[in-house]
Symmetry: D2
């Protein structure tokens, strides 16, 4: 942390700042610039609210020059985190594809879709059983019945399961059926919930909040990691900007940024990131080209009648074509995607 | 809902759209413009995902021309909602001031501050017992002990209590001590939580999410109202924008907008909205001038040593001066604020 | 400027950074923190692109700890800039009201409106003769004819004139008729234009760009000031955010922020800031309460037939009522607004 | 345009709205929904300010259901615009790569870089001679001398030239040397300038403003097209959002969106879009994968000593590697990129 004093700061104001820091167990390195006294703070500043310094008399401004997360940082752990579940490696050289319906609606639906996506090379089946909906009047999911269907479909087609858990209370139940616990964007800063996920026994798939900075996103990962759960997967799914043509603005630059700052794997979800089917395909390709460790795609065999997010779900044949394209793209950057099964 | 077909849309594409709507129990009014066929949809469209229409073949665009909330709308209830708790009326002619520390830290702190703010004319005491913190390493609040202190301080100085509830599980406990349940910005779209608040027995103070549109905010109010709890107070507390000089951008225009769209009272929180003490005073005045039904202000007798948000807390004498100023401003627009007690 | 090296930075990487700075005539102060080497840069860093440092090998991050503007800063000039034109003082204790139509449309229109706003206490008449329009098909203003009408109307009712200049080529012409040169939000970073304004002989009224940070806004003021024109008035007129209910989000917090960072007067324009008549009145009051040195308000005697921005123009009687309210608000914070004339 | 009346709108209010539209030469189709009267407006509404309708008494809301641009729309012209300059086709099947330094600094620099980028397969040489800079104290470009160097370098290595024109006055001069006139993001809504470009004899490369919606961007293209210049190339270069880790947020989804709405070619500029060298490569790949018709990349043989934007410039060998990767990616989606020359 660095504190720049005002040009006219008095000696007693400087003393006051030093005392303030001293009370918190921090030492100070004082240096004199051309126009300003600058104070460098030495010690663990992670508990300091920088604004407390900014409002002290005589202080011109204060700057945090270290990141507030530790366990999530590349500096703490140099090598990529690789999460192994069964024979699937997340965060390794292979780009992992998660696919499936937005919501589990009924058994045949999920079975049909699972078969299709498995054939095209997906490794993990998605599907919501508990649905967070903006409107209290919309379809809210099948609950545990949905979890059972999802597990059965995944097992039949040799897929892993990922599904959203909305609440602390649901962690145990959902963990019985799923391989990965998905945390929705709106829950990224639900702190009592993400703290509880630190004690969960399954990997956590942490979607970025629609207005979360990259630093806040990594701080939420830190909540999970500091609770003892080392298996966190990040997922970019679009941020809110002034542009409203698409539902959100998919921030693909976050992918190389996360790879620099953190050792955790990072996915992209172009289905939620764009909200419209014909934008999903180009953005899925772009995500792989940008270096994503995986993508999450909504697929539905009959999207016109889907109970949620039909508009952003691909038809199975579109998904198959997309898989063929991204297989080439992955190769272009030295990575691979599972082959089609026939 | 209005659907504009593409110039070249075929008759069979138009038929297909009409069928799609018919399946959902909606009727269609077809009209022919200069260049485009336009379909007007008649019936309850609240369950329709507008994107499902946008992706149908031959559709150029689709527009929702009604608001998705009902109970929260001014159209549903014309007169302002006035919430009476003891002798305090929220949403009436009086502008209500909520004040107190960010966190309840220890008994004397809360007592001292409660006495000060009551003297200056505040009607409601705020103070956090359960604190949502961006960092897992920061102070997380005193819990139930904090609630007890808060209640005792409020009772002694004839104030009401407002405090944050972070979680479905805490509603019952917190309701024992508080008069109003505060929902933090990050929980505004925690749907299982706000659904549960619809069954709570206390008024809900619903802060706007930092990236929530006004419509989403009113949809969250709708969750509470539709559960049977009619007492919802909205609170603007700053939105996230590209400008980072202040923590958030306080969107005061939301106040007259809410007053047009909804019958619910709307407050402003300039402490969180700006994050810096010397910006709180002008923005608190501005909120009253803009027509807020109340304001929420953080006050601390020793902000330098506050355990959280000291930088945005006013000193008691600053708070007193602010109260004097906003009393005049309220009068200028035909409203009132409680007198100072001596 | 402060540079934090990576934990594992080698001695030769550190040397390389120091050499890089040395080449630019800057000296370096090296200090050793708990985990990181930190380099403090001493000298004039205003020409350094901070990203050049961020990409050097071994650098973890770099921080600019001084503001890039000088002449516009409060540190450079402590006392408020007060601009005197005739008997009007801008930036002094009086809150100055600018009012008038969006566009000059025809002589009687401007005369009628000038008379009304002068009577209510406005000091400066606004009106566009050259109009920047989003659509090439919209009304583009009367040009010089409009300037003549505006001058005549202002002179008759003892008002000053402000009008927009869109282009370097127009500065001379517009300066013949106006007292203040208004720069529109979209031109705030039209650098060849604002550089030319540094040589203009009239004060410059610099609207904030809709996506300009406060720092960028002050940098644009710096362009004018560094050209030799000391008379710059800033004007907040709404920024672009995700919220689309109103045209823009009026960032009133910018007012106290500018007052802290700069000596220049700052106005607010709630007409463009909200875009809707019934939001203009509360936000104009809020601007005065927040400490604005003046406000700019669009007024039209027949807004239904206005050629531009009728929807955000007040009727003369609304303007009169607003003036009565803000006179009281100004007094509450120790300032004044000119009385009504009868 | 569709107008929804309030539930309680009176017959005389409805009449008033109809009259208002009638005065403007528009006819109205009235239909009665379950709860609201809805008015459909028939005729050319491009000159109507929708807010004028929103503020009429009895109007609940008004919606524009057609796009305000015409010549730029896909509906107006179905087939892609292909611009041929020499043997280069922009907007055709080939993905065109523009590369070169940020600024032309001196002859050898530009020659060296031109040779390198030509060898790797670039078709167009970029380089700034007139530089718009945020700071009045920064390097402002070589002016006409820079244009000469650029032209000479391009001719020697069989490249086309693109360079920025900052001002109406410069159009003629710059047109003597360049093949394509580049308009910077900050000038996208400098209306007197872009109107003048409608009369220019060279294609216009129109960068998206950092806070411009896609609709506003197409409206600016409309200014050029309506002036008679049919050759407009759009370029996404990052928008301003709350995320500040990167300079801007590159909105790659704009690429498929533009392809749907318009017939104009669309490029991406990942150098300005990210601002940091190691983010340029993945985002350039992503742009091609998303379907861009071309990319613009800053390359410098000695970026550490570049006079501007060194931090976002690729080394020639990085550029070469990037070209190899995007050649494969282009093929994966059925497009091509020029081969490397040896």
């Amino acid at each position: 942390m660095v504190i720049m004093m005002e040009k006219e700061a008095t000696e007693s104001q400087i003393e006051h700042v030093i005392e303030f820091l001293d009370e918190k167990g921090l030492s100070v390195h004082r240096s004199t610039g051309v126009e300003h006294i600058v104070l460098g703070v030495i010690g663990d500043v992670s508990r300091i609210d920088i604004r407390d310094l900014k409002v002290l008399p005589g202080v011109s401004d204060a700057y945090r020059i270290s990141v507030p997360y530790k366990l999530a940082s590349r500096e703490f752990k140099h090598s990529n985190t690789v999460i192994r579940i069964g024979d699937v490696e997340i965060g390794g050289n292979e780009v992992i594809v998660i696919a499936g319906p937005c919501s589990v609606e009924y058994k045949e639906q999920t079975m049909t879709i699972a078969e299709e996506v498995a054939k095209s090379g997906a490794k993990i089946l998605r599907g919501g059983a508990f649905k967070p909906r903006t409107s209290p009047y919309a379809f809210q999911g099948l609950g545990e019945e949905g979890l059972k269907i999802l597990r059965e479909a995944a097992d039949k087609y040799n897929l892993l399961v990922i599904t959203e858990v909305m609440d602390k209370d649901q962690i145990e139940l959902v963990s019985e059926y799923t391989d990965i616990l998905q945390v929705g964007a709106r829950n990224m800063q639900n702190f009592s919930f993400i703290r509880a996920l630190g004690k969960a026994k399954k990997p956590v798939f942490l979607k970025r909040g629609i207005s979360a900075t990259i630093e806040e996103w990594l701080m939420s990962a830190e909540y999970v990691l500091s609770g003892g759960n080392k298996d966190v997967i990040l997922c970019e799914r679009g941020i809110r900007t002034f542009e409203t043509y698409t539902r959100n603005t998919l921030d693909l630059t976050a992918i190389p940024v996360i790879h620099k700052l953190s050792h955790l794997p990072v996915f992209a979800d172009p289905s939620h990131g764009t909200g419209l089917r014909n934008k999903v395909i180009p953005m899925a390709r772009a995500a792989v080209a940008a270096g994503a460790d995986g993508i999450m795609i909504e697929v539905h065999h009959d999207p016109v009648h889907a109970l949620s997010d039909g508009a952003q779900s691909l038809y199975p044949n579109q998904f198959e074509e997309l898989m063929d394209q991204i297989r080439v793209i992955a190769k272009a950057i030295g990575r691979k995607i599972a082959d089609r099964k026939n």
